[in-house]
Subunit: 590 residues, 2 copies
């Protein structure tokens, strides 16, 4: 099973969008401002993009951040002048003359199919452009230039390197400010930043790109998530297996992954004349376990679960924090069932998702049913049209009967069957496919999976591939942003930090630490010789849910002064009372 | 860290052993018996081996098991006749004439260095042989022929295939019978047999040799063992990490494993011009995590634990069930400490072992301290003589102060420091290095590991490598033989099997199953339409600790009739009482 790539764009640019037109016009205004500052500037292209615009320039010197306010000021003057955007159609030759000093424009002109070229003009600046634009520069709303970057002409590293200026633009100043605040928040909540600050995970050059090492605090989160998954899966009737991470190529030949999927796999290791691969997915191993003994209809459904670690080759340039990695620990399972069990099994998986979402307080999600398209049968999709229609309808029935709403997207199914993807949005607006629930009526055939039905005849089981908790990498990356690093107590890497006021209180603090740990609570003593306020600030930065300040009074009557990471101070209370309420909070995953 | 290979031979053959001489003579007697049955037989060699002997023959027809009693009968006649073993020295030429019809003997004669050849003769049979032998055939004790196998002449597959007859021989009939009984028991307890029968693990040709797939029942055992390890390690102050299974070669270059250890590693995968390896051990990854932040003496000891999966290349011919595999899940951890913390940390690890041994009821074990030898400094051992003496003495002190007895074995240390190996003996007499506790004063240097000591100066930590619970593979292989498959309840893959007397009791049984599972107990209903006795026999064969028979009476008053796998029947009792005592037994790991 393969999780879909991250869906990065939340508001896809709509070609007919008014806002987009305004942003495109803003890029022309910026180009006009640059022209007035650098009369010899050569111009590349300047499109609208999500939330804003950019323009690429070839300039006599490198820009610095200090240039941006100056350019912004010129832009404001142009906007204030409310210059009209004038559109003209020119014969190609006339256009060539007009852009004689602009080599990039000439190159674009050469590629225009018909003999006419459209240009837009505002004030001194004229550009080769299809439009549309706003009527005049006064219609441009609130904007801000946000950065400078290098960019090859037409994205090709063999071409000249240009300077790109990015900007954002919105209809109104409040909208712009809201956007900038969100960006600021996103920066703070970025899982890569939090992951480093909170010591959740690391990368190492000698280990390799895309291969995260989970530090002890990340390890604690993983352990809690696995514990939750194992308890839930036990409750839902799964059994657990363990399978190797390397396998002979034979297995992935049978599954059909080689050679079609080889590009996303690590290259083989050749041993004793045999090619071995690190596994990109667990499915074939589970199929082997299903078929390791004869199965009767009474044994079904068989639900085989494993936190299986998979390895996939993603290009270096596509790696992205914990979201796009090369090694991933997947909350994987395969359910083998008969057709008449399918509806209940499929719905049961969806309910499992919903139960998890409640625990993690995930409220922004939607389900997407991806179906086949007849034109792809035998190519993109297993060539059994009847089975497609049948299983798609089974999924629809399962969803409808259980009142689960979903969107339907044609022509996005997996190779082997229809699927439900669960999309969630993180606190900073990134959307992910967090979980997936896929039907498979094809691999049963490849692996000769069968069971003896009520009539005593052999029958192929249907397979459901599912991963409600995604991979540890993607889930924890998501949760870091979702919680802004402030994990709920049950999930927090350090649940209690004990802060002795002076060195003489360390002994008592150690005693409490031992009591807490005896209850399985992750507690630690900050025994540094630092001021108490500094220790408390540190605990807040580490986003530890509870700080217990231990001074003379607390040591004397075995009480604790409790502070929450929010800064809130709880009145002093007996240690036993704190321990009881904390244990309850953790058990309830509150 | 590397676990030592299995120590397979418990009673190594002692060259001067009287028993061995007798077994060697028995092989000549067997050859004499074969000669009398097959006058054209050609003779290979016939040495004594552990517990017995064999002889290789070239015969006009294939032997069958029915031949063995006939040969035994002839042997008994020769023994009864009490023929003397006569020794002669012949000139080589005379020997060549004597063995003119024996091509294998002629080949051996050609290789004798001096001009004389020794022969031994009893009755009609004469053999080229250095001896020694017993005085006469009457001195041969109790024996039994145990099997026939094919064997290439001199073990070379390019040579002729001979027929080998195996026998065992002991001084007395009771000793022989005890040995045969032990063999019988060993066969029953062999982890490979039990592993298959109890559905613990499997191998698959398409996955590859030495790469076990853990079936659900094996998965349940693994989960319990990991849970135990994680609880114990939390109690002992370890933190948990997760590290990738693949890494750039740089990491193992730095650690010094490449190229010295490359033969035991899987070959590399080449990606984007970089070589990646599946890791043969976790150490370097943990070192990276230790050095990912600055450490003060206050942070030490740092105890980093991981159930890390490692991959090592063992030759196909050396693979052996779960005992010698290519993929292994190791109960690994590394402790980074200062010199003055060493003694306590090292002893604490040994105490952890002893705590585990109590839980698993392992009573036959001994500790072995392996030290360096000065002649190997700079070659087999890191070239720092003073550190060797110092750390070896630290280990001795740690052991002695804590009254832990051990044997000392010189010249068997790890490359990087002295170590304690823990040897255990399984119920069928196989001895294993189950656990190991190794000192390392070398890798701190290679990975530039350091901490700031009390004086504010940089210092290198000492490292302890430890794996008290070995690998899942070796530990579970051992435990299968240790318990003969009858795992204690807390560890049993299925803890309770519910046996409905008739189909109408299935509903009630399912209700009890749900209650048991609600308490985390692994219960299942045997709902097949089979006779009750057959279901009970099946549960006994599956070595399920408790069977609950559910009939009309039990369904009516919510009681249970309990049977143990031993066959013992417990008087009927309320279900609630059974549930309470079972929960207690599991919690106590009784």
């Amino acid at each position: 099973m393969r999780l879909r790539a991250i869906v990065a764009i939340i508001n896809p640019v709509n070609k007919a969008d008014k806002l987009e037109t305004m942003r495109h016009s803003a890029s022309h205004v910026m180009a006009g401002a640059v022209l007035s500052l650098f009369p010899d500037a050569r111009f590349g292209i300047g499109p609208a993009i999500e939330d804003g615009f950019y323009y690429d320039f070839d300039l006599p010197r490198s820009l610095t951040p200090e240039d941006l306010p100056v350019i912004e000021e010129r832009m404001r003057e142009i906007i204030k002048a409310d210059l009209p955007f004038r559109h003209r159609e020119l014969p190609r030759d006339a256009a060539r003359k007009l852009f004689a000093a602009q080599p990039f424009k000439l190159e674009l002109l050469d590629e225009i199919a018909d003999d006419k070229a459209g240009v837009y003009e505002q004030g001194d600046f004229v550009d080769l452009c299809r439009g549309p634009h706003v009527a005049s520069t006064g219609e441009i709303g609130a904007f801000k230039l946000t950065g400078i970057a290098g960019a090859y002409w037409r994205g090709d590293e063999h071409n000249a390197m240009l300077q790109r200026i990015y900007g954002v633009a919105f209809k109104s100043q409040p909208e712009l400010e809201e956007h900038l605040a969100r960006l600021e928040e996103a920066k703070k909540r970025d899982h890569r930043k939090l992951g480093r600050e909170l010591e959740i995970y690391m990368f190492d050059d000698e280990v390799g790109p895309g291969l995260p090492l989970w530090l002890p605090r990340g390890g604690a989160i993983i352990e809690e998530i696995e514990k939750l998954a194992k308890e839930m899966e036990f409750k839902y009737g799964y059994v657990r297996v363990r399978t190797p991470h390397i396998t002979k190529e034979d297995l992935f030949k049978r599954s059909g992954h080689l050679p079609y999927y080889a590009d996303s796999m690590y290259p083989p290791m050749e041993l004793e004349g045999v090619k071995y691969y690190v596994k990109p997915m667990n499915c074939p191993m589970h199929h082997k376990i299903f078929s390791s003994r004869s199965r009767s209809y009474r044994d079904l459904p068989v639900r085989i679960a494993e936190y299986g670690e998979c390895y996939r080759y993603e290009k270096s340039g596509e790696l992205f924090g914990l979201m796009r990695v090369r090694s991933m620990q997947m909350n994987d399972a395969h359910i083998y069932c008969s057709e008449d069990q399918f509806e209940q099994e499929f719905a049961s998986v969806v309910f499992l998702y919903l139960e998890y979402f409640k625990i993690f307080n995930i409220t922004e999600y939607y389900m997407r049913l991806s179906t086949h398209h007849p034109s792809g049968l035998g190519k993109k999709y297993v060539g059994n049209g009847a089975m497609w229609l049948k299983t798609e309808d089974m999924v629809r029935q399962a969803m409808k009967k259980n009142n689960i709403t979903y969107d339907e997207v044609p022509d996005e199914a997996a190779f082997y069957g229809p699927k439900i993807d669960v999309q969630v949005k993180s606190a900073i607006g990134r959307e992910f496919t967090l979980a997936t629930n896929q039907v498979d009526f094809s691999q049963s055939e490849s692996f000769d999976l069968k069971f003896i039905n009520r009539e005593g005849k052999e029958e192929r089981p249907l397979i459901i591939h599912r991963a409600p908790l995604s991979t540890h990498e993607r889930l924890i990356g998501f949760l870091l942003e979702h919680y802004g690093g402030a994990f709920p107590t049950w999930l927090a890497p350090v649940q209690v930090r004990l802060v002795p006021v002076a060195d003489r209180h360390i002994g008592h603090a150690r005693g409490l630490e031992a009591e807490l740990k005896g209850r399985g609570i992750r507690a630690e003593v900050d025994d540094r010789s630092e001021r108490m306020n500094l220790k408390i600030r540190q605990a807040q930065m580490d986003k530890v849910p509870y700080m217990l300040v231990i001074g003379d009074k607390e040591a004397a009557d075995n009480s604790v002064s409790v502070r929450r990471r929010s800064g809130e101070q709880v009145p002093p209370q007996p240690f036993a009372a704190f321990l009881a309420s904390l244990s309850e909070e953790i058990a309830a995953k509150a």
